[in-house]
C-alpha cells in the first residue's frame, strides 16, 4: 500500500512546490522595466484589491453561476433521455452527440462560435459576439457534455419503480418529476454543478476569443498581468487570491448543498 502511495506523494509534491513558488512570488516587489523582483512586500495584494480587479472577480463569479444554472437546465432533459431511452441505438446516438464536442479542440470550437455569434451564420437580434452573452453561450456549450454525463449517471441510478409507484398513486408527470425524480437526482445536480462552476471559474480561451478582449475573467487578468505587463509578482498575487476565493466558494457551495444531496 505504501508503495502505491509513493507516486501520489511525488505528484502532489510537484504541485505543492509550484504552488509554493507562486506563493513566494506573490510577496516579491514588482519593479517596472525589470525582470528582477525586489524585496518582500504586501503591495501586490493591495494592488489586486483595486476596484477593477475586484470587478473582474465579481464578473467571473456571476458568469460562472449563470453558466452553471443554464447548463443544468439545458442538460437535464438530454441526460434524462440518455438515462431512460429504452432503445440502445437511440442511447448510443445520444451519447455520441453528447461526446462529439470532446473530439474537437477547444480553440476550433471557439472559432466556430465566433462565426455563429458574429452574424455570419445566424442573424441575432442583439449583438452576441464580443459580449458577455456570447461568452455565456460558449461556456454553456463547453460545459454541457460534462454536466450531461454526470446527470445521466445519477439518473440511471434511480429505480424507475419509484416513478411508477408515484404515478400509480395518482401523481401526474410534472408532479412525479418534481417530487420524485428531481430530489433523487440531487447528488448528480450537486456534483455536475460544482464541476461546471469550478471549471468556468478558470475559463480562459472562451472569454478571450468570444469576449474580444472586452470580457475579462480571472484567468485572463492573470495572463494580462504576467505575460503582457511582465508583472509576475502581481499575477502571482491575483492567482493566489483567486485560488483562495475558488476554494472558499467551492467549500461553501459544497456545505450548502451537502444536506440536499444526501
Amino acid at each position: 500500500m505504501k508503495l502505491l502511495l509513493a507516486p501520489a506523494v511525488v505528484v502532489l509534491a510537484v504541485f505543492a512546490a509550484a504552488l509554493g513558488a507562486l506563493f513566494r512570488w506573490s510577496f516579491l516587489e514588482f519593479i517596472p522595466g525589470s525582470l528582477r523582483p525586489g524585496g518582500l512586500t504586501l503591495a501586490n495584494f493591495r494592488s489586486v484589491l483595486a476596484p477593477q480587479y475586484l470587478d473582474t472577480v465579481w464578473d467571473t463569479v456571476l458568469l460562472s453561476a449563470a453558466t452553471t444554472l443554464l447548463t443544468l437546465v439545458l442538460s437535464y432533459p438530454v441526460a434524462y433521455a440518455l438515462a431512460r431511452t429504452p432503445s440502445r441505438r437511440a442511447r448510443s446516438a445520444l451519447l455520441i452527440l453528447t461526446l462529439a464536442p470532446f473530439f474537437t479542440g477547444a480553440i476550433v470550437r471557439t472559432y466556430a462560435w465566433v462565426l455563429v455569434l458574429g452574424n455570419a451564420v445566424v442573424t441575432w437580434p442583439v449583438p452576441m459576439l464580443f459580449t458577455e452573452r456570447g461568452v455565456l453561450v460558449g461556456l454553456v456549450h463547453f460545459s454541457m457534455p460534462s454536466m450531461i454525463l454526470v446527470l445521466a449517471a445519477a439518473l440511471s441510478h434511480i429505480d424507475p419503480a419509484y416513478e411508477r409507484a408515484a404515478a400509480s398513486l395518482g401523481a401526474g408527470p410534472a408532479r412525479v418529476f418534481w417530487r420524485v425524480t428531481l430530489p433523487l437526482s440531487m447528488p448528480g445536480i450537486v456534483s455536475g454543478g460544482l464541476i461546471v462552476f469550478a471549471w468556468t471559474l478558470s475559463a480562459f480561451a472562451t472569454p478571450e476569443l468570444l469576449g474580444g478582449g472586452k470580457v475579462k475573467m480571472i484567468a485572463n487578468v492573470v495572463k494580462d498581468l504576467g505575460l503582457d505587463s511582465f508583472n509576475w509578482p502581481g499575477a502571482a498575487a491575483f492567482a493566489m487570491l483567486s485560488l483562495a476565493l475558488t476554494l472558499a466558494l467551492l467549500v461553501g457551495l459544497g456545505r450548502l448543498t451537502a444536506g440536499r444531496a444526501a
Binding site: G33, S34, R36, G212, G213, L227, D228, S229, G234
Partner: protein, 345 residues
Amino acid sequence: MRARVLTGTLVALLTVPLLVSAASAQNALVVSIWGGNWKDTVEKVVAKPFTAKTGIPVEFEVGGTIDRLAKARVAKGSPLVDLNFTTTHVARLYISDGLYEKLDMAKIPNSKEIAREAFRSEYHLGSWAYVYTVVYRPDLVKEEITKWSDLWNPALKGKIAMPDFDPSHIITIAALMEGGNEVTWQKGEEKLKQLKPSIAAFYSTDAQSQDLMKTGQAPVQVMLSVNAYHLQEQGIAVKIVQPRDYPGIVGIDTMAVMAGTKKADAALQFINFTLSKEIQSELVKALRAGPVNTGASVSPSLAGQPGIFVTPAQWKERGYIMNDEVRAKNLPAWREWFTANIVKK
C-alpha cells in the same frame, strides 16, 4: 543469436539518428524567434544561405515573446539558445536582467551600413522595422481614413479593433495629439476615452487581428503593417494608411547574443550576415518589413510605403520611435490604465 543481431540493429537504427541529432545540435547555432511566418522567413532567407556560406548549421527555438523571455530567464548563465530575436523594448528586459552579451561591433562590419535608428543599444541591433498604423477595409468603411484623428470620427462607432496586450501605440498617438508624448502620456487620457464607443474588439494575437479584419468584425484597426501587407497578399483589399497628421508608431525587431553562449562568434557572424545588403533586400521582399541596411534594394512599389523606410528622411518623418526604456517601464502602468478606462465595460 539472430535475436541479438536483430536487437542490435534496431538499437543502432534508433540511436544513430538521436546521436546525429545531438551532434548537430552541439554544432548548430540555436536561434530563438517567433513561430510561423517569422521563423519560416528567417530560416529560408537568412539561415539556409548562412549555412551554405559558413558551414554552420542553424536550428530554431520558436515561441511567443514572453514564453521565450521566461525560458531565457530560467536558463540564465547557460542559455538554451545562442541568438535571440525580439522586439526592441522587450530586449530592454533581457538587458536589465543580464541575459545579453555586449556586441563586439568589430565583428559586425555590416553594422556600419545600418540606419542609426537600428542601433538600439550596445547589446542589440535592429533586424527589420515596421509600423503600427491605421489599416481598414474600404469595402466596409465608407469614410476615407487618411490620418490618426479620423479614428475619432463617430461614423466608425463599433468598427475599430486594437491590441490590448500592448496599448503603447494608441496611448502615444493620443498623447501626441494633446501635445504630450510617451513620457507625458497622461495628457492623452481624455482624448483616448472618447475613442471607447468606437472599439468593437481588442485582439491579443496577430492571427486574431487578421481574423477580425477578414471577417469584417473590426474593419478598422490599429495594426502591424507587416500583417496588413500579408492580408493584401491573401487577396483581402485593405488600405494601409500613411497618416498625414502624426507618424506611424515604429516597431523594431532586434537581434542579440545570449550571455554565456559558447557560440558567440557564430552568433555575431549570423547578425552580420543578416545585416548585409543582399539579405536585407530579400527580407524586405519576403516580410514586407522595412530594411535596416540603408543600401538594401527595395522595389519601387514598396519603397516609402508604411513601415518601409529607405531614406533617413523617411525614418524621421514617417515613423515615431518611442524611447525603449520608457516603453518597457511604462507598459504595466499603461496596461492597467487602459484596462480600467478603455477595455472595461
